[in-house]
Amino acid sequence: MNEESKTYQNIICTFCGALCDDIEIKVKNNKIENIKNACAISRKKYEHAQKDRTVPQIKGKEVKYNKAVSAAAEILSSSRNPLIYGLSSTTAEAQKAAVELAEKCGANIDSTSSVCHGPGTLAKQLVGMVSATLGEVKNRSDMMIFWGANPVEAHPNHAKRYSILSQGMYRKNRKDREIIVFDVRKTPTAKLADHFFQVKPNSDFEILMALQMLVSGRTPTSEDGRIGGIELVKLKDLAEKMKKVKYGSVFYGMGLTMSRGKYMNTWAAMSLVRNLNDYGRFVMIPMRGHGNVAGSEITMAWQTGYPFAVNFSRNYPRYNPGEFSAVDLLARREVDAAFIIASDPAASLPHEAAEYLKKIPTIVLDPHWNLTTEIADVVIPSAVKGIGASGTVYRMDHVPLQLRKFLDDSWPDDASAVSRIGELIEND
């Protein structure tokens, strides 16, 4: 039957942590006909949403949905030390169900946060982070610093909606803000900046500590007049400016968390931002990558007390990044089964860690085929979040948003699949 087309306003794009909630989608006959306000990545995401969909599979053979779910329950209940991993591209409801499942089967549970902003979270636990919502930063921030972050390519609508080019209440346009970029390479974001500071790789910590000293009126020594590749006089000027601005903001990315120093880099940045609050207001926001990776930390912390890298083998949650985090568990071959939820570790983890997934029974729950479904023993399809499934997601500034489904999907959502596996294990 040919239906009238219907337009849905304020749809949330779930690809990245910016969670833009102004997407307009025209739907006809349960198909997307037109997309407005989406960035280049988002557009591709919507165009591809209904293509390339997974079907229930066991060892490469298509089976009934319930059979795949039962096979997953069998694998997890017979495993001595399973790993539940991924979680950043699913809803808080599915994340909550995954924690419950981890508790039932004494599993390790970790999200992709451990390989993105996890080190920043470790730093937060040490020093705390002065933060704000994206709305507040857009309306008030007169100095925006992007440190090791390249939103032009990773969060393409961020500049327009929340930062560099946004129309705020008191900071109305680009000229009302000073934009500063610290990066090891001249990224497209650096090209939009008023000042670009080229960091010598692995020197973020030194630069941040030098800025801390300069802000507090002390001058670090340097034989060649540079710190981490940047002229000391320029850092001195910047420190003075940072003390004078009304509302500074630091958006930080993987340039801090993946480089040498890891959590110590973010610790240094958070300490600097804290100290700058003696002068004006200064805040920090992580440029979270996956749509609900912030939610994975929030849900895990709310459920277990810890944000990621949690182990339930003793029936109570224990937390230890480096021990219970996915890369370490896989590299040390400590786990004997894996349940991957809405993630593609075969593409995103170091090769050696990903290769180990081929040696153990691996279950993947995902709406689309990816490199991990290729090596999975069991594949469970699911409805696409924010399109065929509703639920809660958290933006990079921790603002929760409610997804509304606007298409009918052939498969149940992630939360139902994970809960069903838990029920089967419990009733076994």
């Binding site: 690809f15 280049a40 990545i41 591709k44 995401k45 165009e47 591809h48 293509k51 390339d52 970790d110 451990s114 390989v115 996890g118 080190p119 470790l122 090791g148 390249n150 390519e153 990773a154 393409p156 090891v184 390479r185 001249k186 497209p188 080229q198 790789p201 692995n202 993987m254 340039g255 968390t257 993946m258 480089s259 040498r260 890891k262 990558g289 990621f308 990044p321 480096g322 021990e323 985090s325 996915a326 890369v327 370490d328 896989l330 590299a331 593609d344 075969a346 593409a347 995103s348 983890l349 170091p350 090769h351 050696e352 860690a353 990903a354 689309h368 085929w369 990816n370 490199l371 290729e374």
Partner: protein, 117 residues
């Protein structure tokens, strides 16, 4: 030509890699957008390479053969988009944090024998 000179490996996002990653991971576009390395123009020249030619990159964790592209980079940096190829060079040591060293790792390059400039 083997060379002991080392570079710093930076892996990261690109817009094309992002677009391809949501358009089907088994799609040729995903492979094309993740299976290359960017080098500074002078380094390409020094190694007698032109865009599209293959080079071997190796770290203490693995090696990979990729085609070259010119990048707006300092001479000491080589850049590979995130993905399965870059991850062949990234080790599993996380310094007790859970996070591998996906940026700032020491990498060597070797011109492939038989590659014309």
């Amino acid at each position: 030509m083997a060379d002991k000179r080392s570079f710093t490996l930076i892996t990261g996002r690109t817009i094309k890699q992002g677009m391809a990653s949501v358009s089907g991971k088994n799609n040729q576009n995903y492979e094309d957008s993740t299976a290359y390395v960017e080098l500074n123009e002078n380094i390409l020249e020094e190694y007698n390479l032109s865009e599209g030619k293959k080079i071997l990159l190796y770290t203490d964790s693995g090696e990979v053969e990729l085609s070259c592209k010119k990048g707006d980079l300092p001479e000491e940096i080589v850049f590979i988009p995130y993905g399965p190829q870059a991850n062949k060079l990234i080790g599993t040591d996380t310094d007790g944090t859970g996070m591998p060293s996906s940026k700032g790792k020491k990498v060597m390059i070797k011109r492939k024998e038989g590659e014309d400039s």
